[in-house]
């Protein structure tokens, strides 16, 4: 069986859905980061696949950008997370509601 663009896109969608569900359901901040990573990588797959398929490198270039941004995001996010953990001893999302309107 030949692997076509559709397969990649299906994989990307499934991953994206998993990530989305993770974003929605997870209460642990660390797990949320994982879910975000899954989301980002789902788009990366789609970018790379489409880029290859239409023979335009711009997509793959974008994927690299995303990887770079994701890395920095995780770095900043984990830093914040650690600070938060040191302050409160918890990383539960429901506890973070000081922005309540």
């Amino acid at each position: 069986m030949e692997v076509t663009l559709t397969h990649y896109l299906v994989l990307s969608t499934v991953l994206f859905a998993i990530g989305l569900i993770g974003v929605m359901r997870r209460k642990n901040l660390l797990m949320l980061f994982f879910a975000t990573e899954i989301l980002l990588n789902a788009t990366n797959i789609a970018f790379a696949a489409i880029s290859h398929y239409i023979g335009d490198l711009t997509g793959q270039m974008f994927a690299f950008f995303i990887i770079a941004i994701a890395a920095s995001e995780v770095a900043v996010g984990l830093g914040l997370l650690i600070v938060w953990y040191k302050r409160t001893g918890k990383i539960d999302l429901d506890q973070m509601n000081s922005m309540r309107g």
């Binding site: 989305l20 974003v23 929605m24 997870r26 209460k27 949320l32 999302l93 429901d94 973070m96 509601n97 000081s98 922005m99 309540r100 309107g101």
Partner: protein, 628 residues
């Protein structure tokens, strides 16, 4: 001559303003003297104008612009011609008498000054009404007399019945005034002017339908002022006012304004004989209708009020049948003897300490000789006995009905003449003859002041001799009004009619003397007569006031409350508040989105994302579909 016109017109206004300066201060005789003196000046000026007009001239002045916009131009213009000068004479004579009489009548009243302010203001309004040379000016006077009538009926404002009657009179007149206003609008938009001379000249060019409507709407106005059925109930209730007011306003002048309007608008009504016939029929009906109510009433002033109503019916018969000069003549004669009758009744009221039930009087002729003579003669004049004023004017109306072949109207009027004689003398007999029933109530009657009787005497003289002026009058007014002579063709018929009428009327008087001459005791509602259906029907004025109360006043009040409590507060305002509340609650409910909980926010974010994607897909599909 203009100067006399202005004096005649504005002297009463000056008197009124002068008196109103003292309105809230205690009684000062000076207001009475000044107001009466100015009224007398007005009378003298009117007489000078009368002699001038009799010389074949008229006076027409335009004082200043009142309203001018677009094509509309309404000045304050006044005209003294053959018709208005007659009205001016009637108004000034009666009001001068009433003013002087009032100095005595209102002697003990706290509102003495205020009374003269209102009374003179009334005369001014009435003069504006009759002297104006256009419909708008007439309307000023028309509303002005309505206002003064309101103030004077409700003069004793601490009495609930008086203020109620005042408001009733004002509102009923306003209903009619709406008709009049519409009539004025029609005249303006069809002719482009409200000046009498222009209107009467061009009215013939309009289609008959339009003229008919103009005639009808103007007559609706006249119906209100002259208290014609079905707007008649206010007149009897208006008797709550002081008696001089009843004499001046509700007998001699204001209520005849409707007749004046029809007479003045004769070029209009001449073109629409159908409306004229309707007016005449209504007049005949009112004549009988009012007379029937007077038969059983036990309130002296109301009896005279019904008799006024009945006589107004006569006038409308004449005016409706095109005999305008006859109507005006009866208006004049009636003003004299009816004012006299009312003033006499005022004397009796004073003597009896405001007792109004003639059954509680009796035998007063011994203590009140002057009043007795005056009221009797006035009643004779009212009954139409030769050679008193009423004979010349009222019999003429009967002849008009006969000559114009409206025999039903004639018959009704003849019957009414009998009734009139009967109830007038029922009143006279009950008050002045028979047993002195007032003694039962511990009242000590006394005659009125001498000068009041002297003041009344001009009216007495006129009530007796006014008929003698008939030919002079006829020659005067027929230069303006259609001069139709009403002669019964055969001399024989004429004499039979005249003598027959006289005999009939005298029989009615005799019957009144026989029935009430030896009356004793006061009816207390137990006699068989008082329990008959007819009696009750008449006693309750055909249940019309009650009907109005149940069908108009009460539902209006109820509806108003519903409009406020149910519709305005519970529907209109509630919807507005509902919308505001909805917005407020929406905000309140969606506040949870901003609860600060990250996971909820993320969920909303995802939800928004999905919606956006869905929209994007939907629109791109739609766009492609259109594009393809």
């Amino acid at each position: 001559m203009e100067i006399y016109l202005y004096i005649a017109l504005f002297a009463p206004l000056v008197g009124s303003l002068f008196s109103s300066l003292f309105a809230s201060s205690p009684k000062t005789m000076i207001t009475g003297y000044v107001a009466s003196g100015l009224l007398f000046t007005s009378l003298v000026s009117s007489m000078i104008l009368l002699s001038y007009v009799m010389g074949g001239h008229t006076v027409h002045v335009e004082m200043m612009t009142w309203m001018a916009t677009g094509d509309l131009y309404i000045p304050f213009g006044f005209v003294v011609d053959q018709v208005s000068v007659v009205m001016m004479m009637v108004v000034t004579i009666v009001s001068t008498v009433v003013h002087i009489y009032s100095i005595g009548y209102m002697d003990h009243d706290k509102g003495f000054n205020r009374f003269f302010a209102w009374l003179s203001a009334f005369v001014f309004s009435m003069m504006v009404l009759v002297m104006s040379d256009n419909f708008a000016g007439l309307f000023i006077g028309w509303e002005g007399v309505g206002l003064c009538s309101w103030g004077l009926i409700g003069f004793w404002y601490h009495k609930e019945s008086a203020t109620w009657a005042a408001n009733e009179a004002f509102i009923m007149n306003r209903i009619a005034d709406l008709g009049m206003l519409i009539g004025i609008f029609m005249v303006y938009w069809n002719i482009g002017s409200l000046q009498y001379d222009v209107v009467f000249e061009q009215i013939g060019n309009l289609p008959v339908v339009v003229i008919t409507w103009i005639g009808i709407f103007l007559f609706i106005g006249a119906m209100g002022k002259s208290a014609q059925f079905p707007l008649h109930t206010w007149l009897a209730d208006a008797m709550e006012g002081p008696t001089p007011v009843s004499a001046l306003i509700h007998a001699a002048t204001m209520v005849t304004a409707g007749v004046y309007l029809v007479v003045r608008s004769n070029p209009i009504y001449d073109l629409i004989p159908n409306v004229g016939l309707f007016i005449a029929s209504l007049g005949a009906f009112v004549a009988l209708f009012a007379a029937s109510m007077a038969l059983v009433n036990r309130d002296m002033k109301r009896i005279i009020a019904y008799s006024t109503l009945s006589q107004l019916g006569y006038m409308f018969v004449a005016a409706g049948l095109g005999a305008y000069w006859v109507a005006l003549f009866h208006l004049m004669a009636h003003a004299f003897f009816k004012a006299l009758l009312f003033l006499g009744a005022g004397n009796v009221m004073h003597a009896m300490h405001d007792e109004l039930d003639p059954f509680k009087m009796g035998g007063l002729r011994k203590v009140m000789k002057g009043t007795f003579v005056m009221m009797t003669l006035a009643s004779v004049a009212l009954a139409g006995i030769y050679p008193f004023a009423g004979f010349f004017s009222k019999d003429l109306i009967l002849e008009v009905g006969f000559v114009e072949h409206h025999y039903v109207i004639y018959a009704v009027l003849l019957l009414t003449a009998g009734l009139t004689a009967f109830y007038s003398f029922r009143l006279v007999v009950l008050i002045f003859h028979g047993e002195e029933r007032y003694k039962l109530f511990g009242i000590h009657p006394h005659e009125a002041y001498k000068f009041m009787l002297v003041a009344m005497s001009p009216l007495l003289v006129l009530a007796i001799i006014a008929g003698a002026f008939k030919m002079t009058y006829y020659q005067l007014v027929t230069s303006l009004l259609p001069d139709t002579q009403y002669h019964v063709h055969s001399e024989m018929t004429y004499w039979i009619m005249t003598i027959g009428t006289q005999l009939f009327v005298m029989a009615a008087i005799a019957f009144a003397y026989k029935k009430y001459g030896n009356w004793s005791g006061v009816p207390d509602g137990t006699s068989t007569m008082e329990n008959r259906f007819c009696y009750k029907l008449l006693w309750n004025q055909y249940y019309i006031p009650k009907f109005y109360h149940e069908v108009f006043s009460k539902p209006y009040g109820e509806l108003s409350r519903i409009a406020w409590k149910q519709i305005d507060l519970k529907i209109v305002d509630a919807i507005v508040d509902g919308i505001a509340n909805f917005i407020y609650r929406t905000g309140e409910n969606t506040r949870d989105i901003q609860n600060g909980n990250l996971s909820t926010m993320l969920r909303w974010m995802v939800f928004g994302l999905i919606v956006l994607v869905a929209l994007a897909v939907a629109f791109s599909v739609g766009y492609n579909a259109v594009g393809a």
